[in-house]
């Protein structure tokens, strides 16, 4: 594997094939109402067997050494099927760790070595995703840190073995720390969620042992936030497309008044508008992948903008999907509502529309 477009297409295709067999929407539907809320066997298959965690980890750390697009392609395929669990957050954390440079190499080596799934914990009550207001404290030095604080609405924590956490040291500096879920002083409480495909947890840390992942003086916390937004953007763009496909397929076969309802012009025009939105979201997500790949300085701007555009697009498409399906789209057994709920969680996580829009404006220098 050298990371050519053909390699990339092959990786995407093989992941898609596995997911189509093991983690299609019907399976997501089953898994999300189970006790765990995710499929441990799928996690095992994609990590230990397929080695996805090592995909973009450098070769000298034991990984396959592929570039960013290999991981983002997998995030998209997971997103299109709304796969629950810590697979997307793991790849997101790995991408973020890569971007953090040498200081994160020990973590990356451990990820491959121990096949660690990861979650990313940023938000706090009161602070939300405003990094400047982070109140979780880190005490210690060098390799030995103890974290105290509470992180809320953490995706992936129910299925992750390590959680990346933002915290402030005694000097007031914000940093990124890795905490083992199983360590003393770590309490993960997973909630039932409106978006059943994405459980959220409260992570309480009381003098929990941690290692620092980012280099002092850097913008590690921001790197983490940008990558979480990128995850939401990529998932949403892929899900929006899948949801539109689902809807269009239905409109082609469903008949009313003696005609396929997809032949009614009012519905056609609405679908056309959705297709335009989906194309825009996809292009914006693609651009973000390029930004992450090249390490461009526009990362924060592009991630914020893409999360806003893609989450809104998914919400628009999914809301129309329910409406265009009519009564059947309102049933629990149908998939439309999964996209709808996923759209709302993508909108509300990692910053409200107002906050993210203001960030985009500031970062764009408007």
């Amino acid at each position: 594997m050298t990371g050519t477009p053909e390699d990339l297409a092959e990786i995407r295709a093989s992941v898609a094939e596995v997911l189509d067999g093991q983690a299609d929407l019907r399976r997501t539907h089953e898994v999300m109402v189970g006790e765990r809320g995710y499929d441990p066997l799928l996690h095992e298959l994609l990590t230990a067997e397929l080695g996805l965690l090592g995909l973009v980890v450098p070769e000298h750390l034991g990984g396959l050494g592929l570039d960013v697009p290999a991981a983002t392609a997998v995030i998209e395929e997971l997103g299109a099927r709304l796969v629950p669990g810590a697979l997307a957050t793991s790849l997101t954390a790995i991408l973020a760790a890569r971007a953090l440079g040498p200081s994160a190499e020990p973590l990356l080596a451990r990820v491959v070595d121990e096949q660690l799934t990861l979650a990313v914990a940023l938000a706090e009550d009161g602070a939300g995703w405003d990094l400047g207001q982070t109140a979780t404290r880190a005490t210690g030095a060098g390799d030995e840190w103890a974290l105290t604080g509470t992180k809320t609405v953490v995706p992936g924590a129910e299925a992750a073995r390590v959680v990346l956490v933002t915290a402030r040291n005694e000097g007031g500096e914000l940093g990124v720390y890795a905490v083992d879920r199983a360590a003393d002083g770590v309490d993960v409480r997973t909630h039932m969620t409106l978006d059943q495909t994405r459980r959220l947890s409260t992570v309480r840390l009381r003098e929990a042992a941690a290692t620092r992942v980012d280099a002092p003086g850097g913008d590690g916390a921001r790197v983490l936030l940008d990558h979480v937004r990128a995850m939401l953007a990529l998932e949403s763009a892929a899900a929006a497309r899948a949801c539109l496909d689902l809807t269009v397929d239905y409109l082609k076969v469903r008949e009313q008044f003696g005609r396929p309802i997809g032949s009614f012009q009012a519905l056609k025009h609405r679908c056309a508008d959705l297709a335009v939105a989906v194309a825009g979201a996809r292009a914006t997500a693609d651009h973000l992948v390029t930004t992450l790949r090249t390490g461009a300085a526009t990362r924060s701007h592009d991630a914020a903008l893409a999360k806003l555009v893609c989450a809104d697009t998914l919400m628009t498409v999914a809301a129309e999907a329910i409406q265009l399906h009519g009564g059947i789209g309102f049933t629990f057994e149908h998939h439309a509502h999964l996209f709808f709920k996923r759209g709302k969680s993508a909108q509300l996580l990692a910053g409200s529309a107002a906050a993210v829009r203001a960030e985009v404006a500031a970062l764009a220098g408007l």
Partner: protein, 386 residues
């Protein structure tokens, strides 16, 4: 109870009665059974129907011989306003009173009226509606459920969906195809079918809220008496369309009070959690207020010109307005909550904002979808060609 009362007297009477009932034996019923909460407190709400009936609050404006009570259109609106204001429980008798009753009054035989209407006004009988079918959706003329006449009975086979309250109902009014060779609007008949018989099976539909307001109803050689056909054989379409007109009737006006309560609750929440300080959210809240004011003025205007009731056209405009408005408010309610709205109780237990957000997606689908209403407005109000 025969003499007409003034609107003020009427309002005072219903308000006082509701307050007494809802602080007394039915205190637990307050707030139950609203939109997306149809699954709540069935027993209590069934008793509530009888309580309402005994007090003479069912069948406003119906003839007194059937247990009705004289009431002007304005008083009917007042009833709905006060009912909503008091937070009284969602009506199990909604279909019976708003849909079947007016249909029987318009199309029923004297015997049918005498038999069924008093049991509606007394709150005894609960009815459900058998119109929609799988694969037909908003296209009611696509009914495929068959009813074959055998002597003094019809034998009914087919399937209905989106039948709310079917699991509680005593009777179902069913649109069936009695002429097997017919298509579309022709050859349909309107039959009254007892639910408690071997040929009827009810299966609840789980909705995206995780709860079940709606059901599938399977008819497998279920039986209805010929004398319980409303209107002539083959004229069921006309009878059903009459009912649809009533469905979007006067209760829409009273509904506004409930909407205002919802809006006020969302605004209060926004004020308490700081969302009101966010200009984009505040603008959406103010726009929701303005939209509700526009609906209120529209309702008053309709009421002033309505006389006997609302035409289908006015009802279509009203349905499109409120369904779309309420759906938007549902989304606004969770946006005001922020990421906290993503957490539910155990077992997918939803709070008011979450329930509103999810259940209101049905508003623009049931009772004639937004698309159907737009067709009606475009063709019948604006006269655009088919």
């Amino acid at each position: 109870m025969g003499a007409p009362v003034s609107d003020e007297q009427f309002r005072a009477e219903i308000r006082g009665w509701l307050q007494e009932a809802l602080t007394g034996p039915f205190a637990e019923a307050v707030g139950t059974g609203g939109e997306g909460r149809e699954h709540e407190a069935h027993e209590l709400r069934r008793e509530w129907e009888r309580h309402l009936g005994r007090a003479g609050w069912i069948g406003l404006s119906w003839p007194t011989e059937y247990g009705g009570r004289p009431a002007t259109l304005a008083q009917q609106v007042i009833f709905h306003e006060e009912y909503a204001r008091a937070g009284a429980p969602g009506r199990l008798g909604h279909m019976s009173e708003q849909l079947l009753g007016p249909t029987l009054l318009a199309f029923g035989t004297p015997e049918q009226k005498a038999r069924f209407l008093p049991r509606i006004t007394s709150g005894e009988d609960i009815w459900c509606q058998g119109y929609s079918e799988p694969g037909a959706g908003s296209d009611l003329a696509g009914v495929r459920t068959r009813a074959e006449r055998r002597g003094d009975h019809y034998v009914i086979t087919g399937q209905k969906v989106w039948t709310s309250l079917a699991h509680l109902a005593d009777w179902c009014f069913v649109l069936c195809r009695t002429d097997p060779g017919s298509t579309r609007h022709a050859g349909l008949s309107y039959l009254l079918v007892p639910m408690n018989q071997p040929g009827v099976t009810v299966r609840p539909i789980t909705q995206l809220t995780g709860t079940s307001e709606f059901n599938e109803v399977f008819f497998d050689e279920a039986v209805a008496a010929v004398e319980h056909r409303v209107g002539a054989e083959g004229e069921g379409w006309k009878v059903a369309m009459g009912t649809l007109g009533f469905e979007r009737g006067v209760s829409t006006l009273g509904q506004q009070i409930g909407f205002r309560r919802r809006l006020d609750a969302v605004i209060a929440r926004a004020r308490s959690n700081g969302a009101w300080q966010e200009p984009a959210l505040r603008d959406r809240l103010v726009d929701a207020y303005i939209g509700l004011e526009v609906m209120r003025h529209s309702a008053v205007r309709l009421l002033a010109s309505a006389g006997e009731g609302l035409s289908g056209l006015e009802a279509s405009i009203s349905k499109l307005q409120w369904a779309t408005w309420n759906r938007s408010l549902g989304e606004l309610a969770v946006d005001v909550e922020g990421a906290g709205a993503l957490l539910t109780g155990p077992g997918y237990e939803l709070d008011d904002a979450q329930t509103h957000f999810l259940f209101s997606r049905a508003n623009t689908i049931y009772g004639g979808s937004n698309e159907i209403q737009r067709n009606i407005i475009a063709e019948r109000l604006l006269g655009l060609p088919r």
